[in-house]
Amino acid sequence: MLVLILRRLAYAAPIALGVSLVCFSLVYLAPGDPLQAVMPADVTPDMVEMIRHEYGFDKPIPVQYALWLWRAVQGDFGLSIGSRRPVIVDVLGSLQNTLLLTSFAVPIAFVIGYTLGAIAGCFPGRWLDRTVTGFAVMGVSVPNYWLGIVMVIAFAVELSWLPATGMGPRGSDAFSIFSLGDLRYLVMPVFTLSMVPVGIIARSTRAAVAEIRGQDFVITLRAKGLSETAVIRHVLKNALPQVLAVMGLQFGYLMGGSILIETVFTWPGSGFLLAKAIINRDIPVLQGAILLLSLVFVATNLVVDLLQSAIDPRIRRA
């Protein structure tokens, strides 16, 4: 197992390096001057040069990359051009808020998706299956930010049941998951964010259950005279590792993909930070946020991979 972990780590390391290179070079594809967002409208060119030097934008690009990477490894992503705060502080702070959102959305999506998928998989072709499958397709087809907008109008503006935006009356610092009042702020973002994973998990569960039901050992179990409930229990247990792996990947996707939902609900997470960094052309924040989010994704994949190998020895190839 240790060998396996090391092997997977050795595989992930160059990918992480490649990711960092992409993050760094990506922002130099950008047209326009990253410095201009902090400049007043009638500034002269020599002042631009002076500020460029002050911010370190005047060095050759490979040198900038090497310096940037070396500092990034030490947790220093530089300062935000807009706010002059250390990027790492902003990114880690907002990452926590996204993590909160995801930690609610993914388990909820799993419970709903697995239940629905199991029901559909056990009754293939019946109206129940079609209803569930239809619901799952809707889940993956709906533009979730649009759903969010509609829900804000319905539940916050018209009915006043839920807050429309933000993370509580005192902001994210004071947010507590043990406060019922604060949890109300989670309801709509979590619901909309879990739409896609519910659909995906339900579909994978249905497929896994349907596949396992056709396998030899199930036929054997039945032949042995096991009750249908017991057979289904066996089938569901066997489908679990596959579905858990899908769930793990969804976790990584949501961490990086909550940008639209966070924008609709002004949720102070990493996606919202990223959206602002793009609008303000705040290059260091853009680099830092994308790098950390993709590293989270790489790490999630690694963990899912290892867990799956631990649960299911058949996967322990290579």
Binding site: P14, I15, A16, G18, V19, L21, V22, C23, L26, V27, L29, A30, P31, G32, C122, F123, P124, G125, R126, D129, R130, T133, V137, M138, V140, S141, V142, P143, Y145, W146, I149, V150, I153, A210, E211, R213, R222, E228, G252, Y253, M255, G256, G257, I259, L260, T263, L274, A275, I278, I279, L286, I290, L293, S294, F297, V298, N301
Partner: protein, 301 residues
């Protein structure tokens, strides 16, 4: 009992359901199964209608998509011949949605097509080329695969400054790695099969082998996967437009219309729901058709 009564769904037809007396090739059997799958056929027709409407928009659309009128803003369904009302600039909403299908469908299909060609070719190259070629291509793909798709799309088009072209590049880059992987796997499986050996022994050149044997066996899985990406692409593209990274106004595009109509929701919520509904319906259709194609081609992903 469930298992004894299990009736397969139309999208789940097993090969043995085919009439035994009909002998046919693989593609013919796929076509046969598709023809007998009412769900896929129905939603396929809907897609065809949407595509035709988009192509023939200038002939079908009742009004000029750019002609605005300050006094006719945000009017309700059926107001003075505007079937589903008017938008925030008094333009006919139905016309805008028909025209909007052009860009939205293009943004759904084009990046997938580009990624299919590029990713497919790279995958075949990686699968058929030497070890070094394989490593270079596949490790590069792994790097791009290491980004969550939304993040990569937002990052690339955000860095390059938005717009249709940049959005297309971004989405193509999002889809290429996955298609490349599938293509590489399929190629590697095919590569060592007997008939390739046979072809090689019979003196066929690498190019001929690639063209006739590898391509034929790799296309199936790629096509199925690509078909499932179209709806993802439409949703991602509309998301980019919503964030201001996609199409620039006054071009009609569903995601952008959703974004610009957002403030008008207090005047006429139904009008504002229409572009979202267009995205939703199109996306559902593509998803269901993709499921149908997958079942018909009987390939498990």
């Amino acid at each position: 009992m469930a298992h004894t009564l299990a009736v397969t769904t139309p999208t789940d037809l097993e090969p043995d359901v085919l009439p035994a007396n009909v002998v046919r090739g693989y593609w013919q059997s796929v076509a046969y199964r598709l023809r007998h799958d009412p769900v896929t056929l129905f939603f396929g027709m809907v897609i065809l209608l949407i595509i035709l409407a988009a192509i023939f928009a200038p002939w079908i659309a009742p009004y000029d998509p750019y002609k605005e009128s300050v006094i006719a803003r945000l009017k309700p369904f059926g107001w003075r011949g505007h079937l589903i009302g008017t938008d925030e600039l008094g333009r006919d909403l139905l016309t805008r949605i028909i025209y909007g299908g052009r860009i939205s469908l293009f943004m759904g299909l084009a990046p997938v097509a580009v990624a299919t060609v590029v990713g497919g070719a790279l995958g075949i190259l990686a699968g058929f080329g030497g070890r070094r070629v394989n490593t270079v291509i596949m490790r590069t793909m792994d790097v791009f695969y290491a980004f969550p798709s939304v993040l990569l799309a937002v990052a690339i088009s955000g860095a390059m400054g938005g717009g249709i072209a940049n959005g297309m590049i971004a989405l193509s880059m999002v889809f290429t790695p996955a298609l490349c992987r599938i293509s590489e796997t399929a190629t590697a499986q095919v590569r060592n099969l007997d008939f390739i050996e046979a072809a090689r022994a019979s003196g066929a050149g690498t190019f001929t082998i690639l063209r006739f044997h590898v391509l034929g066996n790799v296309l199936g899985p790629i096509f199925i996967y690509a078909s499932s990406l179209v709806s993802v692409s439409i949703l991602l593209a509309s998301g980019l437009s919503f964030l201001g990274l996609g199409v620039k106004p006054p071009e009609p595009d569903w995601g952008l219309m959703l974004s610009t109509l957002r403030q008008s929701i207090y005047v006429n919520p139904w009008i504002c729901a229409m572009p979202g509904a267009a995205i939703f319906i199109t996306s559902i259709c593509f998803n269901l058709v993709s499921d149908g194609i997958r079942a018909a081609m009987d390939v498990r992903m």
